[in-house]
Subunit: 342 residues, 2 copies
DNA sequence: TAGCACTGGTAAATCGATTTATCAACGTTC
DNA sequence: GAACGTTGATAAATCGATTTACCAGTGCTA
């Protein structure tokens, strides 16, 4: 690849001229002929400024990293879309990464982020080793924004109104006449999942219902684990009639297993999940959800990372959009003739 | 952030020593005390080598870019997983990007890739402007591997046995007794989709069936477009009894719409899709598919990009794993009493 | 003719890490 | 005591782009 000086030499000018032409420096005064000559050579010799050199000189990488722990989850699609849009506004490339489980300080991603290879890090963590290592590595050189959970020391923590979402989902089921409403969390101790569980508990208590501990099960974030979890849950608490699922992917597994078990949704059992993903409308039965402002979360995360004045390391709750109930076919009043049919 | 020379000064040594300690240079001879002193300072002062400087000097970015046109598609999950694994083997970070639609030569992603900000580009294109712009930008500085489609000029093109997959899917339906088998393509002119269609046609011809043009429809790659496509297809050719879907996401939309239309799957209508995604097993009915070696594709792509000697710009078909039929509940022999029931 | 502004540039320092060639000091060996 | 090897380092060039400060020449005015 051609370098700046090669172009300069070929054009008979100094590298400064080439650089300033490439960067559209308005304060540059050159004759029209010189400018044309340089531009022609840039084109012919296929010149593009070296990213490393530019970034070294300017201390700007021109990119942001968004690292999640599971790229396959459709939940991230919206976050990414929002982040993408905001990053474009700031003229930055958005690089997605998936956090492995090493976190030994030697992984290429850690080296990159820790060495200022990106201008900021947005981390959707799951409390793993790698998460912590990555956040630590980044913190010493670039702003870090944590999504939904993590140790906010030296970073900005961005959250959503998870408790309200859990509450809203539960209230919907209660309004349909359900009383024995279970809850599927993601992982024990995962902050946003715990907040949703708190919302569930609060709504239940407000309705004078005291859920016992076997009304709650851990379902992870995969189809498979969701399917296994509903089976465990119903064998521990067979008289549940409805369910709030903290993770929408696991809810899809729940629907499949319920059908396999002969429980009809929604006639025999209602299911609602947190987060609206495109798939939810195309399941049969389609899945009722509480929609959260995921896109906004992605946008705000990028804004926070770009605005970072190395000052405001706080914990912020996204409040631009309220959690929104979207009723589809997986929730309904309990069929009173329930036992007779099937 | 501390720099190399700051550490060196603090430790009373030259920057060379610091660099060689950080990089575990085996040929470095230092006293145990000096080494300990430097390592202590590296730790205390939170030193990490600057990514830009290192990459400038070494001409290695330590990262690969994998750019797809739709990050939300679950089909990429497997490709990404494979690429991730292979990248780790090569000590490179894998950065995912989504190609927007600009391609004006000014997008941050183009600048990054064109300026050698990554060591290689793997591009899963859709024939857009941006695809071409990105490939062009990258080609002048780093190796490029195209997945499944694209203009291989100056790049390596990696393909899968799409025709065989299309054929296998069709033969499965024929073996079940179906004769009027439709096909849903992704986009007109998209190479891999066309190859799958060719496989369908070949299998049909081998069975002495001549599909008419209204047995084929374009279904895109979203739930919504799949749903719309099956409706169009069945109004144009109502007597079809089975379908091969080139894109598995659109197939999910197909299943939903079929149920809404009162066509029972598989009793009245069979559906099979190309690519096995985790969701397929958790739909009800679960979705029969032809599994393709997506993970292998991801791995091979990384290998190709890393091995690239600026020589072998060819077109390679992945042949490590054969397309594999996975029969689930969405395909079955046609119910002979079809008209009587429902 | 001095003074001044404008045009069309250039020189050179700088960003931070890497790496090769070199070297001083000290002990060993013959 | 001369030659040599070893240990424990260092000096300085280099990667490529950016940017500030400066400058030579030309034309214009007072």
């Amino acid at each position: 690849m051609a370098t700046n000086s090669e172009i300069a030499k070929a054009a008979g000018v100094s590298p400064a001229v080439v650089s300033r032409i490439v960067n559209r420096d308005a304060s540059l005064r050159v004759s029209a002929e010189t400018r044309a000559r340089v531009e022609k050579l840039i084109d012919e010799m296929d010149y593009a400024p070296n990213a490393a050199a530019r970034s070294l000189k300017s201390s700007k990488a021109g990119a942001l990293a968004l690292v999640v722990h599971d790229l396959t989850s459709p939940v991230y699609a919206e976050i990414i879309a929002g982040a993408q849009r905001a990053a474009a506004r700031h003229g930055k490339a958005l690089l997605l990464g998936e956090a492995g489980d090493l976190g030994d300080g030697q992984s290429p991603l850690e080296r990159l982020v820790g060495g200022g290879g990106v201008d900021g890090l947005i981390l959707q963590g799951a409390g793993t080793h790698m998460d912590r290592a990555l956040a630590r590595a980044a913190r010493r050189s670039v702003p870090v924004v944590l999504l939904q959970s993590g140790d906010a020391k030296g970073a900005t923590l961005l959250r959503m109104e998870d408790e309200k979402a859990g509450q809203l989902a539960t209230e919907h089921l209660l309004a349909l006449g359900h009383r024995r409403v279970g809850f599927l969390s993601v992982t024990e101790g995962l902050p946003f999942s715990d907040r949703r569980a708190a919302g569930w508990r609060r709504a239940m208590e407000a309705a004078d219902i005291a859920p016992t501990s076997d009304w709650l099960a851990v379902a992870g974030n995969t189809y498979e684990k969701g399917a296994a979890a509903i089976e465990r849950l119903l064998s521990a608490a067979p008289d549940l009639t409805a369910l709030v699922a903290s993770n929408v992917v696991s809810a899809v597994g729940v629907l499949a297993r319920l059908r396999d078990m002969g429980r009809r949704v929604p006639q025999d059992f209602s299911v609602i999940a947190i987060h609206d993903i495109a798939l939810a409308a195309y399941l049969r039965p389609s899945l009722s959800v509480v929609k959260m402002p995921l896109r906004l979360l992605g946008e705000e995360a990028v804004e926070a990372v770009c605005a970072e004045e190395r000052v405001s390391h706080e914990s912020i709750t996204i409040s631009g959009e309220e959690p929104l109930l979207i009723q589809r076919d997986s929730t309904a009043p309990l069929d009173v003739a329930e036992e007779g049919i099937q």
